[in-house]
């Protein structure tokens, strides 16, 4: 029964709670039990808030009983990357420096989830200051992949990917500055949305790079992802970068009809160096989309090579600014990786930083016109190679490690520079038995289109239904 409960999607369990087929308390207890069971092997939690969530679940059940108006996430346990502030509650950012940090404000996205009825199960592990793509963390311990704990989870929202895949919760918020939602989504076999820059408020979240940071959900189904996005998206007077662009009713648009939609396959860059097993998964996913009536169109896309260094100019300067005082006063409390990645930003000329920022609108406009005048979405692998092990990507490794990290993010980072939405969708497994995913990239604010196609794909496949067997549960 508990396993059945935990294998329900977010939308299914929300409906079951609403219809009194199951209580929020039963669901919360099952999540706590699973979280405690997987934690020794996976280390996806920094804190499990057992008493608080049980209290909240009882209150949620009372609301159902008295016929109160219920939100779309009523009584559903979620857990989040440990960087979404709640006034008075510790938010570590996966760091040593913020181990005891209690912000005085609450994130808008946290307020919106609570208003929709979601419960808070706990704070999830993450890369220190959201600054690496693997899931290594020397302060809180590495987060391990529930499919095979020797392998990376992807990062920086490592705990989010692992916790959702391991069925400890029904969804999670992550953040994506260069791939930090899509990589752990792909690595753990779950869905992850990096929304359009400005689609979701970033008020009261730990900043990494102001100009590139986005907040989005990781879930097991596209429909679940659409539901959470519908709750958190929209303008926010507390975040001037949050867009007033209208928020679609994402769930209502999921009709599984994609006949005639044009799916683009990039001829250049995004498939370079792809391994045979990842290629096979991509081809199979395209065959599914074709069988649903989508038109698959190959096209040349603007080469993103020059955007990597522009992204570095922006990222290094902004993160150096954010961490400047700590870099001066307590450099020893950073991991060597984060410190060295940030130092260069102190010396990049201000003019170069602004030149990179000023080039962004032009490069994005060129990309959108060249691609989205021809197709509705672009389809590409999130990663072009099977997931490496933690030891293969360990901090302090030789030059090959840096090359591998660059390869991990080569298909995700350009999308952050362009500010476009991208949805990672599970597409099977590579030869090493680990998940693989494609991403659907759309024009600005086309999250609804990505959800439609991703949901139609999941209607024909069951990759998202596969459950990892965590060692402790054997």
């Amino acid at each position: 029964m508990k396993s059945d409960l935990l294998n329900m999607s977010l939308c299914e369990v929300a409906q079951a709670i609403r219809k009194k087929r199951v209580s929020s308390l039963e669901v919360a207890r099952a999540c706590i039990e699973r979280a405690k069971a997987v934690q020794p092997a996976v280390n996806c939690f920094i804190a499990i808030e057992e008493e608080e969530i049980l209290r909240a679940a009882r209150a949620a059940d009372r609301a159902v009983k008295r016929g109160a108006k219920l939100g779309p996430l009523h009584g559903v346990p979620l857990a989040h990357k440990d960087m979404f502030y709640r006034a008075g509650r510790v938010s570590t950012g996966g760091s040593k420096i913020l181990r005891d940090y209690r912000p005085t404000v609450t994130a808008t996205v946290v307020e919106r989830l609570a208003a929709a009825g979601a419960l808070w199960l706990g704070n999830l592990n993450m890369a220190e200051f959201a600054a690496n793509p693997t899931g290594h963390n020397e302060h809180w311990g590495d987060c391990c992949n529930p499919w095979n704990t020797a392998h990376i989870t992807g990062g920086s929202s490592s705990g989010s990917g692992a916790a959702v895949a391991a069925r400890t919760c029904y969804g999670s918020l992550g953040s994506d500055t260069g791939g930090s939602i899509r990589l752990p989504a792909a690595a753990n076999g779950v869905v992850g949305l990096k929304p359009t820059y400005g689609r979701v408020s970033r008020h009261a979240i730990l900043p990494r790079v102001w100009s590139l940071d986005t907040v989005g959900p990781l879930t097991r189904t596209v429909r679940d992802c659409a539901r959470i996005t519908g709750v958190i998206a929209g303008s926010d007077p507390l975040d001037p970068t949050a867009s007033a662009h209208p928020v679609s009713n994402y769930e209502r648009l999921l009709d599984r009809r994609i006949r005639g939609l044009k799916v683009g396959i990039p001829r250049n860059h995004y498939y370079d160096g792809i391994t045979r097993d990842v290629r096979r998964a991509m081809d199979e996913s395209l065959a599914v989309l074709r069988s649903l009536g989508a038109r698959i169109i190959e096209l040349d896309v603007p080469d993103p090579q020059h955007t990597y260094q522009l992204t570095n100019a922006i990222g290094q300067v902004e993160s150096a600014t954010i961490y400047a005082n700590w870099l001066r006063e307590r450099p020893q409390d950073f991991s060597l990786v984060v410190r060295t990645r940030t130092e260069a930003g102190m010396l990049v000329p201000g003019v170069s930083y602004l030149e990179a920022l000023n080039a962004r609108p032009r490069i994005t406009a060129e990309f959108v016109r060249q691609v989205f005048d021809k197709v509705d979405v672009l389809h590409a692998p999130v990663m072009t190679m099977p997931l490496p092990t933690r030891s293969e990507t360990a901090p302090g490794g030789a030059g090959e490690v840096m090359d591998m990290l660059a390869r991990l993010t080569r298909n995700t980072r350009p999308i952050n520079f362009l500010g476009l939405p991208s949805l990672a969708v599970p597409a099977g497994f590579t030869d090493n038995g680990l998940p693989v995913a494609f991403q659907l990239i759309g024009r600005p604010f086309a999250e609804d289109m990505l959800f439609r196609i991703g949901d139609a794909f999941q209607g024909e496949t069951d990759w998202h239904m596969h459950e990892p067997v965590v060692p402790k549960l054997l």
Partner: protein, 67 residues
């Protein structure tokens, strides 16, 4: 190829401008990294217009959204 930056200058400016203390070896790495980033920004900046400004990115995204 990015134009070379003198590691000694990186070390000196880092200390004088930002209180950044790095070894000679690290200064050499930083010099390469900064040169690479700086050159890319300079090359792209040559295509920018004097009316460009960073805040126009949000407007661009809104404009490029499907009507």
């Amino acid at each position: 190829m990015p134009k070379n930056i003198d590691p000694q200058a990186v070390r000196r400016l880092g200390a004088q401008l930002r209180g950044l203390k790095v070894s000679a070896e690290r200064a050499a790495q930083l010099a390469v990294e900064i040169a690479r980033v700086n050159e890319a920004a300079r090359a792209e900046g040559a295509k920018n217009d004097f009316n460009d400004q960073p805040t126009s990115f949000a407007v661009t995204l809104a404009t490029l959204a499907k009507p």
